[in-house]
């Protein structure tokens, strides 16, 4: 791909959803965009690229952005985060939420749904301890195609084996055919998938006790990262938790959070009110 064409796609992605496409990721473009070109009847990728210099169809722009924004995901990845959820965060609410038995969780940038369903399975696995607690898991992404896949709850043989222990496969999935598995209806019902662009105003979103936004912020420019994170933190109650990627450096974008010792990637509000010492 020519540098000028890469820059055109890169600026389209940034304008539409704030995501930054680094030159190192340019190798992804051909494989992701060729199916879009084929769908829209362009004989080659350069032919489709040409139309972007004019006034392209909004639906074409949407398909291009979705194709470029898609990220790979796996179940229980990394397992340490889900151990933290199961052994530290959820037990905190077992003890501390006698009055409010509603627990809202947001999987922001949910891709094909593996993160949201991993959260649901983690909760189901300790359902006895959470009896009487109403759980709502909202999972959002900017790609309607990937959201349709997530909503279907079906995964092929490669996807289903990536991160999911076989005991959990048997417990939470049903075989559809020789190569496809579907999440069981009871677990599927725990998650609600919806389109949401993180650049948008978040005023209409509810309060979330736990937010998962792992490895999403680094896809934005620094300034946008800070704005998006700040808006998200306004949705957290005073004893809420947020999971970010364990390797994300948040010092440059916020001073509102404190890292939780021994749980890399888990943060609490600096000015929050928790029933444990914040140190």
């Amino acid at each position: 791909m020519k540098i000028s064409d890469f820059e055109r796609y890169s600026s389209l992605l940034k304008d539409q959803c704030g995501l930054i496409l680094s030159p190192e990721k340019s190798y992804l473009l051909d494989s992701r965009l060729l199916p879009v070109a084929k769908k829209w009847g362009y004989p080659t990728l350069p032919a489709m690229t040409m139309t972007l210099y004019g006034v392209p169809e909004p639906d074409l722009v949407r398909d291009i952005v979705e194709a470029m924004a898609n990220t790979d995901s796996a179940f229980f990845s990394p397992i340490a985060d889900f151990n933290t959820l199961s052994e530290f965060v959820l037990p905190y609410y077992d003890k501390g939420r006698k009055k409010n038995k509603q627990l809202n969780i947001w999987s922001a940038g949910c891709a094909a749904g593996q993160e949201a369903y991993s959260i649901a399975m983690t909760i189901e696995a300790r359902a006895e301890k959470m009896r009487g607690c109403r759980i709502g898991i909202d999972a959002t992404d900017i790609s309607t195609t990937i959201l349709d896949k997530a909503q279907s709850g079906t995964y092929n043989q490669y996807e289903i084996q990536n991160g999911l222990p076989v005991e959990m496969l048997l417990q939470y999935f049903d075989p559809v055919d020789k190569k496809t598995w579907a999440i069981k209806p009871k677990t599927k019902k725990m998650v609600r998938f919806d389109y949401f662009n993180l650049l948008r105003d978040m005023d209409e979103l509810p309060e979330y006790d736990i937010i998962f936004c792992r490895n999403v912020l680094p896809l934005f420019e620094k300034e946008t990262q800070a704005e998006v994170l700040h808006r998200m933190l306004e949705l957290l109650p005073e004893d809420g938790f947020i999971f970010l990627g364990a390797n994300e450096n948040i010092k440059a974008i916020t001073d509102e959070l404190i890292a939780v010792d021994d749980h890399p990637g888990l943060y609490i509000l600096k000015d929050g009110n928790y029933k444990f010492s914040k140190k």
Binding site: A74, I79, Q157, Y158, Q161, N162, G163, P165, V166, E167, L169, L170, P175, K178, K179
Partner: protein, 137 residues
Amino acid sequence: MVEKTLFRANERISILMKTCMIVDDSRVVRKVAARIISDMGFDCTEVEDGQRAFDACTESMPDAILLDWNMPVMSGIEFLEKLRMLEGGDKPKVLLCTTENDTGHIKRAMNAGADEYVMKPFNSDIIESKFKQIGLL
């Protein structure tokens, strides 16, 4: 002098490395699996049927076994049941690896003592993910 030093270095590496036995009657599958698992830092040996695998285990137990189900002479399930009855046979982590992907086969494998189940075809991400799940990585 150089050869002796190299020999010592290799000997030291093989003692420190975890071992994995790949049991499959397909040479191609063995080679592909061996390449993936070696890249994860394991010292791999390849065996073509359950009986030979069992004989090898009576000599020395590996840390991990990637085990095919359908093989001549002795099937993967027969091998696994016999292995778990051997002294020290509870030690290796066994991943049963097969094209059989219905729940009945998976449950049978787990009941026979498999630690994980890999549906063929697999790739390096799947093998690495399964090894992590059972504490081999």
